[in-house]
């Protein structure tokens, strides 16, 4: 019983509940929305965002932010796309994409930890730089004509399930276990919760912060590969504005921007919500231009109500503490008499 209670009390559970409510409400309007096919499709189209949100969670947990993911996604997708187009092997393309992500993440991380640049500014500058590098590298052209075999990677299915979806979901669960159960994994949240405390505990704070940026950028370049297989071509604007969607998804999933709180599962569910809203609008026959207005107001409403709930809870706790103290004093007084 207490186990169920501890699950329902978690923030991720509320996000999950919201996702279910979303699906049920839209499903009442249009039952097609609840078909297995559509649910699988929603998951498939949000894979890229889930991967990005997982990487972002690492950075957010340490109390930093990474705005550059969209640029990394575009750049690595373009570079590995060009390798594939020119007949390079899959392994080389994937390795190059991961290398690009790791290098950019390392630069971000070193900038934040060694040069003490605020992560927001550092990654914002990096976003701009990676975008320009992408345009220069591709000569402003779209990368098209990717080999068919590569595009088919996103269509592979195993026992009726999309292989890519299975891989992503399983790795999200593994990452969640790493972050919540393993010693080193918990360092990330510890750093964000109390950096000075983490230093005093002997956690190599700078190394883990740098690592979080590397992870986030590598996730972004993996997302770039997913983008390339799913879409089949890479435009110069691939991933523009995606960083804000990803941050919004993570926040929806209960990851705090001040660090220390959140889980990758929550962030992943948040990503599914952000993407499902798009298709939900289509199923509800609402014009697509309502998209941003709805996700924006949803984000604000959820975050504000979350903050209010948290504040009320802390107020309640304070009141209880005060009451017990008053009670104790009364008891003491009655003994004194």
């Amino acid at each position: 019983m207490s186990k169920i209670k501890s699950i329902t009390a978690k923030r991720e559970f509320r996000t999950f509940l919201f996702l279910i409510v979303l699906f049920v409400v839209v499903g009442i309007v249009n039952t097609d929305f609840l078909s297995i096919n559509n649910i699988a499709n929603s998951l498939k189209s949000s894979l890229l965002y889930i991967v990005l949100a997982v990487g972002m969670t690492f950075v957010l947990l340490t109390g930093n932010i990474d705005i550059s993911v969209g640029g990394v996604l575009g750049l690595s997708a373009a570079v590995s796309g060009m390798i594939l187009r020119d007949g390079g092997s899959f392994l080389v393309a994937i390795a190059v994409a991961i290398l690009i992500g790791a290098v950019i993440g390392l630069i971000n991380g070193l900038g934040v930890t060694k040069l003490k640049i605020s992560s927001f500014i550092m990654t914002l500058g990096m976003l701009e730089i990676t975008r320009v590098v992408q345009v220069i590298y591709t000569d402003g052209q779209w990368v098209e004509n990717l080999p068919i075999e590569f595009k088919q990677l996103s269509q592979l299915s195993f026992m009726g399930m999309n292989v890519l979806s299975i891989i992503v979901v399983v790795s999200v669960i593994l990452v969640h276990l790493y972050l919540s159960r393993s010693r080193r994994g918990r360092y990330f949240a510890a750093i964000g919760d109390n950096e000075d405390g983490a230093v005093l505990l002997g956690i190599p704070v700078e190394r883990y912060k740098t690592l979080s940026f590397v992870i986030s950028s590598v996730c972004a370049s993996l997302a770039g590969l997913i983008f390339a297989t799913q879409i089949g071509f890479i435009s110069t604007t691939a991933g523009v504005g995606i960083e804000m969607t990803v941050i919004a998804a993570a926040v929806l999933g209960g990851v705090s921007l001040s660090g220390g709180v959140g889980s990758v599962i929550g962030a992943g569910i948040g990503a599914i919500i952000m993407i499902s809203i798009n298709s939900a609008l289509v199923y509800m026959k609402v014009p697509a231009y309502w998209n941003d207005a709805i996700s924006g107001s949803l984000l604000i409403i959820i975050v504000v109500s979350d903050a209010l709930i948290a504040r009320n809870a802390s107020k309640q706790a304070k009141k209880e503490r005060l009451n017990t103290r008053v009670l104790q004093e009364e008891v003491r007084e009655s003994y004194a008499k």
């Binding site: 900038g111 927001f120 990096m126 701009e128 926040v251 941003d292 984000l299």
Partner: protein, 332 residues
């Protein structure tokens, strides 16, 4: 006298002069005063939002919704004046007020709801540009062409001149004066700094910090409204996606201007200088035959390097002092 001017502003002035000289050597047309003055049209929006985002950043917050408020005010202005047929100046006033309302919503949620500024303005950014797109969609205007057909009078707002000085320069100066007076010469300005330095202390000394914080967001929203009107007049049509690429330059000018992203320190003089530097950089690179793609690279690098320099210089200074200047030791 010189010591009174913050050192960073001095650096910015030197950079600006160096920039003008270098670009002038690359292309002598750059030294043409009227071209330089006219180039203000391209970045006056960034500058005036930058002034008031500086306020927000000094209180320790951040406002990334400015760009989408531009798009919203532009659409509101277009709808009110062209579709509903309102008087153009009344429409301008209402559009700027809408910008202020957006800022008010941001501010109230941040100050009274105790939610992080970044999250709320991120949501606001989606919401306001979303509302703008919805307004365009509902009214059935083509999203690509936007709402055009503004009167001659209105386009004079951006293209007109007074005594040979373009209106955009005058607007820049007026907004700078307002921001400077508010921030550096009034009690309100001192309260903003105190709120940024230590909000609890400010609260205990009887300042209603929540009102102060809210007001900075309202000012930032209003300035975005003004920028939206100006941009609409400059480009001659109202579109929802105006200002969507402004997020990066606005933060660049604020941070390059020497305002600490953590709050408590900074000023609008630096923001003004930085916005001119960034603006001239774009004009100069274009004139120097550089393709427009490289401009992003230049501003991105400028942002990172300047912040790294700011960060290192303060660290460096304190370390340097520790090593070089010996502690005063009382020998007796």
């Amino acid at each position: 006298m010189l010591s009174k001017i913050p050192k960073w502003n001095l650096v910015l002035v030197v950079v600006l002069i160096a920039e003008i000289i270098v670009f002038g050597l690359m292309n002598p047309r750059f030294w043409n005063i009227s071209i330089l003055l006219n180039s203000f049209n391209d970045f006056v929006g960034i500058a005036i939002i930058g002034f008031f985002v500086t306020f927000v950043v000094i209180t320790g917050g951040i406002d990334i919704s400015g760009g989408s408020i531009i798009g919203l005010t532009s659409v509101v202005l277009g709808l009110l004046s062209q579709i509903l047929g309102l008087n153009i100046w009344l429409a301008v006033l209402l559009a700027i007020l809408v910008g202020g309302l957006c800022g008010l919503l941001n501010g109230v949620l941040i100050a009274y709801g105790n939610v992080q500024a970044m999250v709320i303005t991120l949501g606001g950014m989606l919401l306001y540009s979303g509302v703008a797109v919805v307004l365009v969609g509902v009214s059935g205007v083509s999203a690509y062409e936007g709402i055009a057909g503004f009167s001659e009078q209105f386009s004079k707002l951006a293209y007109g001149k007074v005594l040979g000085i373009p209106h955009s320069v005058i607007l820049f100066l007026i907004m700078f004066a307002i921001a400077y007076i508010l921030l550096h010469l009034t009690r309100f300005g001192r309260f903003i700094y105190l709120t940024g330095i230590n909000q609890n202390a400010a609260d205990y000394s009887g300042i209603d910090t929540r009102k102060i914080i809210t007001s900075t967001y309202v000012l930032s929203g209003l300035s975005a409204g003004v920028a939206g009107v100006m941009l609409t007049s400059y480009l001659g049509s109202a579109r929802a996606d105006f200002g969507s690429e402004y997020l990066m330059p606005i933060l660049t000018v604020v941070v390059l201007g020497g305002t600490l992203i953590t709050g408590g320190k900074g000023g609008v003089v630096g923001t003004a200088l930085a916005s001119i530097i960034v603006g001239f950089l774009q004009v100069g690179l274009q004139m120097g035959g550089m393709s427009t793609q490289y401009i992003g690279l230049a501003t991105g690098l400028l942002l990172i390097i300047s912040v790294a320099f700011l960060g290192i210089s303060s660290d460096f200074k304190s370390n340097f002092k520790k090593i070089v200047v010996p502690k005063k030791i009382n020998w007796r």
